[in-house]
């Protein structure tokens, strides 16, 4: 294919504006392939959204129903099933835990990068190693202790656990963003006699703000989607959205269209946030290695 474009006497000269340097035909073939793969990979999502607008009979049909009159009945049914209070719990658990993570992670990562403590490496090792500790190994004592403290089925228990769950990754990310801050800037601030808090607020925070947004986004994704703690530590009062989804599946048989509508609603906040903040997502995941 490459030889083809190289030896052809430039038939595409008229379209050269459109075709980049690397050659026209193979590249446009690749583009078509990319689109096909992307749509194929995304198709389960399309199918989920389509199903959510169907009547139950059309949702579970063989052969699958591709053309139908869309209805909002399923969404109405989900909201009537009391999804609101679960969403509120998810909102509290996600929002407050992310806030707490930031409040704890920013000073900690400062102490691991800009004015590092001794044994920075050991501390970092400790934080990431807590992430490797399987959650299931601590769920029993957490359940028993929470029971004795009478904080089972309490949203604040989830807040504390989600904070601990996301803190190590957040510290690693924030640290890598702080490392990028040039040393001269900080020296200048010190010469001016700016204190820790002032340096943080006026000089560091504006510089790492994109990194902070990236870190917060990652925390939001993992907290919003968390299921294991929510399943084991909550019941009627503090249950979050994933628990609601599962309750829709087991309590009254399987209504696929309604379940799909609930899935779409449950996923929507994080999907939208991720779509809007794609750049931040890349930055956060690559630990700030890319600007």
């Amino acid at each position: 294919m490459a030889i083809d474009t190289a030896t052809a006497p430039a038939p595409a000269a008229g379209r050269s504006e459109k075709a980049p340097k690397r050659g026209g035909r193979p590249s446009s073939l690749l583009t078509v392939l990319t689109w096909i793969l992307a749509i194929g990979f995304f198709s389960p999502v399309i199918w989920m959204v389509m199903t959510s607008f169907k009547q139950e009979s059309a949702a579970a049909s063989n052969p699958p129903t591709f053309f139908f009159e869309p209805t909002l009945d399923q969404y109405r049914a989900v909201l009537e099933a009391g999804a609101g209070s679960y969403f509120l719990n998810s909102l509290i658990a996600t929002g407050v835990s992310t806030l707490l993570v930031i409040v704890l992670a920013v000073p900690a990562s400062y102490a691991l990068s800009i004015r590092p403590v001794k044994k920075t490496q050991d501390v970092l090792f400790f934080f990431i190693s807590t992430k490797m500790l399987p959650v299931v190994a601590v769920i029993m004592p957490i359940y028993v202790i929470a029971g004795q403290l009478k904080v089972l089925d309490n949203i604040w228990t989830l807040v504390v656990l989600y904070t601990a769950m996301n803190l190590p990754i957040a510290i690693w990310m924030m640290r890598s963003f702080f490392e990028e801050v040039p040393g001269e800037v900080l020296e200048a601030a010190q010469m001016d006699g700016a204190g820790l808090l002032k340096t943080l607020r006026t000089i560091l925070m504006p510089m790492v703000a994109p990194g902070l947004a990236a870190t917060a986004l990652i925390c939001v994704i993992f907290a919003w989607n968390e299921f294991f703690f929510a399943l084991n530590l909550t019941a009627a009062k503090a249950a979050t959205t994933p628990v609601f989804l599962v309750s829709q599946m087991t309590s009254e048989g399987l209504f696929l269209a309604k379940l799909s509508a609930a899935s779409v609603l449950a996923s929507l906040p994080v999907v939208l946030a991720g779509w809007i903040a794609q750049k931040q997502l890349v930055r956060g995941l690559s630990m700030g290695a890319v600007k």
Binding site: W47, L133, A164, N232, M249, S260, S263
Partner: protein, 312 residues
């Protein structure tokens, strides 16, 4: 004279002391911002584990209130005779390695396709990252019911177009079904990391290689891949940390079944603790998993510390 010398000595002594004191205060000033996060993490993540250790030495079954006796290591001995535990451990390894490997290969392919200028690039990227953002519980439902259901699943219908008869995926191939959902969820994560690596690589090196007449594959293997290495390592490490703890997909797609064919360690321990109420046994399994994880993690962390050369 002598008093002058004495005074000077005294002064120097005082300075030394002040400096030592200053260094100590400086040390605490540096440590101060770290302490809240450190103490919080120790209390919430390490303290419960001490309880787990204690439980693992007890015969504590919530269904038998008379129990709750110290039994030493007998819970651990039972585990080594438990073939289901071995099966679950093997499944954990299959899920983790299979998912991380497949997601990474697919992620690299997608990232290479995205690392070009073409119409609708932003939209394609948006489509491709979406599975990572979908709630895992929702994606587990989506895969087990909408996609893989034997009678009305979309997957069997597509296979039917090619004349392949319907398959009851989640009961005939439970591990593969779960892997499908897992790979779908984690491919975007790997893709984003690799894409970040691709965009960080200097373009002039690539152009020079092309000028030298190096083919696409040769350029990829000898230049691009080595430069992507730390991104790939980071992806493998972070991916493995999360995938090894997979619970949602197994709980919802197969419930570990049929039998215990697709249970991984987190799910099997959950079953023992919350459905079998055998706290002692489950705790001992948890401890063994932690020990195994520490051994594996020590190697993995050496990898990441090497590639990120942390300044001490």
């Amino acid at each position: 004279m002598s008093t002058l010398v004495e005074k000077q000595q005294l002064k120097r002594h005082e300075q030394d002391r002040a400096r030592a004191k200053g260094a100590k205060a400086e040390g605490w000033r540096r440590r101060g911002p770290l302490l809240p996060a450190l103490i919080f993490t120790i209390i919430v993540t390490q303290l419960p584990f001490l309880f787990t250790l204690w439980y693992s030495l007890q015969n504590w079954n919530l269904l038998r209130p008379d129990g709750d006796a110290f039994v030493g290591l007998s819970n651990y001995i039972d585990i080594f005779a438990d073939s289901t535990f071995r099966q679950a451990a093997l499944n954990s390894i299959i899920f983790t390695l299979g998912c991380v490997f497949a997601a990474m290969v697919l992620g690299i392919v997608f990232a290479l396709l995205l690392d070009r200028n073409f119409k609708g690039r932003g939209l394609v990227r948006t489509l491709l990252i979406t599975p990572f953002l979908i709630m895992p519980v929702a994606s587990a439902v989506l895969w087990s019911v909408s996609m893989l259901n034997p009678s009305y699943g979309l997957f069997n219908w597509i296979l039917g177009l090619f004349g392949i008869p319907a398959v009851d995926w989640t009961s005939s191939f439970p591990v593969i079904s779960i892997l499908m959902a897992l790979v779908w969820q984690w491919t975007p994560f790997m893709m984003l990391l690799v894409l970040a690596g691709l965009q960080a690589q200097p373009k002039d090196v690539l152009e020079a290689a092309q000028m030298d007449g190096a083919g696409w594959w040769k350029t990829f293997v000898s230049i691009t891949l080595p430069q992507l290495r730390r991104y790939i390592e980071l992806g493998v490490l972070l991916g493995a940390i999360y995938v090894v703890n997979t619970f949602d997909q197994i709980y919802l797609m197969t419930a570990g079944g049929p039998g215990t064919a697709s249970a991984n360690l987190p799910f099997y321990i959950y079953q023992r603790a919350f459905l079998g109420f055998d706290i002692g046994q489950a705790a001992a399994m948890g401890v063994i998993v932690v020990i195994a994880t520490i051994i594996i993690a020590t190697f993995a962390l050496r990898l990441i510390f090497r590639s990120f050369d942390v300044k001490d």
